[in-house]
């Protein structure tokens, strides 16, 4: 009822400001928002192809459901906490329930709720890659809802909050499109969650192979496509900065993919499709913080260099105790960190960035390291806290025999590729009463 009242109130109060919107800016930001939204289904396929057949729907739903749950908490609570003035540590509640956000401005203000909302959604979805095959669905939904408000919104405020009240921005750290907020943040949350939940049953004993590699390539292709909105849209206009960010988003992953294929060929003898898809994502992650701050050759170098840490880590990861199932840390964590640091190296004044280490400003590199550390520490603590609290309320992890049956049947009562033969139609709806 209070919400309903609010609807009416806000509806009446909103100022019509159609005339101020700038066509080019608005057109590009509309497109960018749509592109970033598409990244979440894309990720569902990237991740879904990498898991075993019995877990594919659950894996996809961990992303897909974020479009529902995270969007809601973001629009109602997160946006205000991230972008409201508040303090250096956190925004305020002035825009709770989107209060006071209208359509004024060169880019209509309300659109920013959507644009930034798609970032919040994909960030939550990214975490799932660490946890597939064992985390129950209800605690997952609760986790990402709480995490979006308590972790993501806070870190977003530190990096992108209003100048003067944004912890890391005010420090001088630069992050064009969210390497810290999105990728490092999600990866650390993933690793922490793996520690809390433990590895999948049979991890290290059986081989867990992808069930559909074309889906992985589909996901990677759509992610790349969507990432043009992620990085290009972060220029907040159809301008030179967007063009630079866009072109770098085209060049850097190309370099990463080429280097990755060479590494694979030199070591294993064969360039793999899963490897190429992974490399594209790593390159995209790497260029994210740098996109509008480095020149195109800088982007190529950055892309080539970020391949190394991720490649070697992912190669040895299955031999570690850590069951970060789909290598969120290797791809997004290390990719995000190397990207953030290399942004400090390659950032070029003439291309719109602060001067970086290569232009003699070693200081920027230090600031970038500080920002990365701050994000890592905050994300680790906050994610751990949320999960431990949730664990008090309900079991987070599916039991071993439930994992054996598969998360699709367990959590969703479905199979990905059902075969109707042998299935008996039940017309009187019964309660299935099964475990979930």
């Amino acid at each position: 009822m209070r919400l309903l009242a609010m609807t009416i109130f806000i509806a009446l109060g909103a100022a019509q400001a159609a005339s101020q919107a700038d066509g080019g800016t608005t057109a590009w930001m509309l497109v960018s928002t749509a592109l970033v939204l598409l990244m979440t289904p894309a990720l569902a396929f990237f991740y879904g192809g990498l898991v075993r057949q019995k877990n594919v729907l659950n894996t996809m739903m961990m992303s897909f459901a974020a479009l529902g749950v995270v969007t809601l908490v973001w629009a109602l609570f997160g946006y205000s906490l991230a972008y409201g003035g508040g303090s250096r540590w956190i925004g305020d509640l002035s825009m709770l329930f989107m209060h006071g956000i209208d359509l004024s401005g060169k880019m209509p203000a309300l659109l920013d709720v959507a644009f930034q909302g798609t970032f919040a959604v994909i960030t939550a979805a990214l975490i799932s890659g660490s946890l597939v095959g064992r985390m129950r669905f209800l605690p997952w939904l609760l986790f990402i809802a709480i995490w979006t408000v308590c972790d993501y919104a806070v870190l977003a405020h530190w990096v992108w909050g209003p100048a003067g009240s944004a912890l890391l921005k005010d420090l001088g750290a630069i992050d064009f499109a969210g390497g810290t907020v999105v990728h490092i943040n999600a990866a650390i949350a993933g690793v922490v969650a793996v520690m809390v939940l433990g590895p999948r049953k049979d991890f290290g004993r059986l081989a867990f192979l992808p069930h559909n590699i074309p889906f992985v390539l589909l996901g990677a292709g759509l992610l790349w496509f969507g990432w043009f909105g992620f990085n290009g849209g972060s220029a907040y206009g159809a301008n030179a900065s967007a063009a630079l960010a866009f072109t770098n988003t085209f060049l850097a992953p190309a370099a990463t993919m080429t280097v990755w294929m060479i590494l694979e060929a030199l070591r294993g003898g064969r360039a793999t499709a899963v490897g190429a898809a992974t490399a594209a994502v790593v390159g995209l992650v790497g260029i994210t913080p740098a996109a509008g701050f480095v020149g195109p050759l800088g982007a190529l170098w950055l892309g080539a260099l970020v391949a190394f840490p991720s490649y070697f880590f992912i190669s040895i990861r299955p031999r570690l105790k850590l069951d970060d199932s789909l290598d969120v840390f290797g791809a997004h964590g290390l990719g995000g960190m190397s990207g953030a640091l290399l942004t400090g190296v390659f950032a070029a004044k003439a291309w719109g960035g602060t001067a970086g280490a290569l232009e003699g400003n070693i200081g920027l590199l230090w600031v970038q390291i500080e920002a990365v550390l701050a994000a890592v520490i905050f994300s680790a603590l906050m994610s751990w806290l949320i999960l431990r609290l949730l664990a008090l309320l309900m079991p987070l992890r599916a039991a071993d025999d439930e994992q054996a049956v598969g998360m699709d049947a367990l959590c969703h009562g479905e199979e990905a590729y059902p075969v109707a033969e042998g299935a008996i139609l039940v017309l009187d709806r019964e309660n299935d009463g099964g475990a979930r």
Binding site: L209, G268, T272, V274, I314, S315, I316, R317
Partner: protein, 120 residues
């Protein structure tokens, strides 16, 4: 009545089918299986996960025949399925006590004699 069970290479299936049709062997059932013989393994790598694939795709034929057809059938398979490389597969002959044609209820010999109406 015998059941002839043969595991063959998938790429030889068409040749074997042709060879069996020429030998007037009509009724048969195939299924996609995987086999392990005496040989080496293929290695695959998915990200850091390296696996040995010890199993190779094969096709299994099941052919119910009357006694008189056993030798013909075996020879037809041998002629078409052999590549000479390890992995060509095996033929097993199992005894069958009874055969029933579902459509008519006919039993044994009568049940394995083909008709000329369209199969669907």
């Amino acid at each position: 009545m015998k059941m002839i069970v043969a595991m063959i290479r998938p790429e030889k299936l068409n040749d074997v089918l042709e060879s069996l049709f020429k030998a007037e062997v009509r009724g048969l059932t195939i299924s996609r299986v995987q086999g392990h013989g005496g040989g080496t393994e293929r290695v695959e790598t998915y990200r850091g996960t390296t696996v040995k694939m010890g199993l190779y795709d094969k096709v299994k034929l099941e052919i119910g025949v009357s006694e008189g057809f056993v030798e013909t059938t075996i020879q037809a398979i041998l002629a078409a399925a052999r590549s000479g490389e390890v992995g060509d597969g095996k033929i097993f002959v199992l005894p069958v006590e009874r055969v029933v044609r579902i459509r008519t209820g006919e039993e044994n010999e009568a049940a394995v004699t083909p008709v000329k109406k369209p199969d669907r």
